[in-house]
Subunit: 161 residues, 2 copies
């Protein structure tokens, strides 16, 4: 298969890779950044860490590349409109126009009512292709009560059965 | 928060990070390896790539560290028992005792009836803590018809609503 065909097939295959929807946030030079994403993975418990993959063309990339701490806010099934607001034509500070946001002591915005908010020190990063993988060592966590995350699968938002 | 508390809280938070369940496979020195996992992420479309996080103590780690290509088989909601077989006390070749497996031309076993099977050349890797992140450049893909992946959330297997 050629790379172009592979990319087309890979998009189709990834529609099957159901994922919780998160909003990754950062605070840098007095500005807040937010981006909806699904390219997130648990990494290790020793040290407690997760990773995120961010396109180098995303507005969030620059603050992260500068070493800003970040927060992975796992959205609740009821927070679909926040996911949409943080992934579409709305940019910059306006992405925080919905939901209650407060700053974690480490800096990045945490979303109240999220399934969980995982605050990370920006530990190291690796570039691959268009993207950069940021590895975060977890420094603070807030977890909600009921597990009912927003899920993205087959091009649509849903929740778990 | 101390690291130990953080690890406990992180486990709870990650229960909210709903994920499709995959079985990662490899073929190395004439032996087949399989491991159920959720620590998988899309990475880039240019080049088409994904990443997986594997504990350095896992039996799958050694062949991957030796550069074996791997396949990420996204399980169908009906393939829960395959996930269980590839993550429990059953080891080695016995993990292939259920389901129809065939070898991709690149080498690793592909599961028939999976939601998708994504075959990767083992491109590079990065160690962090107990785990190693393997970056795979996608070389072959098979995609099933209907999108209905097996999902793991809140410590249980389920599917999308």
């Amino acid at each position: 298969m050629q790379d172009l065909d592979i990319a087309v097939e890979l998009r189709t295959a990834l529609r099957r890779l159901a994922k919780a929807v998160v909003v990754i946030t950062a605070m840098h030079d007095g500005r807040r950044y937010a981006m909806a994403a699904t390219a997130v993975s648990e990494l290790s418990m020793d040290p407690p860490s997760i990773l995120i993959c961010v396109n180098q063309s995303a507005s969030l990339h620059s603050p992260l590349d500068a070493g800003a701490p970040f927060c992975v806010n796992i959205l609740d099934a009821a927070q679909r409109t926040i996911a949409e607001r943080c992934s579409g034509a709305i940019k910059g500070e306006d992405r925080f126009g919905e939901g209650e946001w407060e700053l974690a002591s480490a800096g990045p915005p945490m979303l109240k009512g999220a399934q969980a908010a995982i605050v990370c020190r920006n530990e190291t990063s690796v570039v691959f292709g268009t993207h950069r993988i940021f590895i975060g060592q977890v420094v603070d966590i807030r977890v909600g009560d009921l597990a009912d995350p927003l899920v993205y699968v087959d091009g649509r938002y849903t929740r778990c059965a």
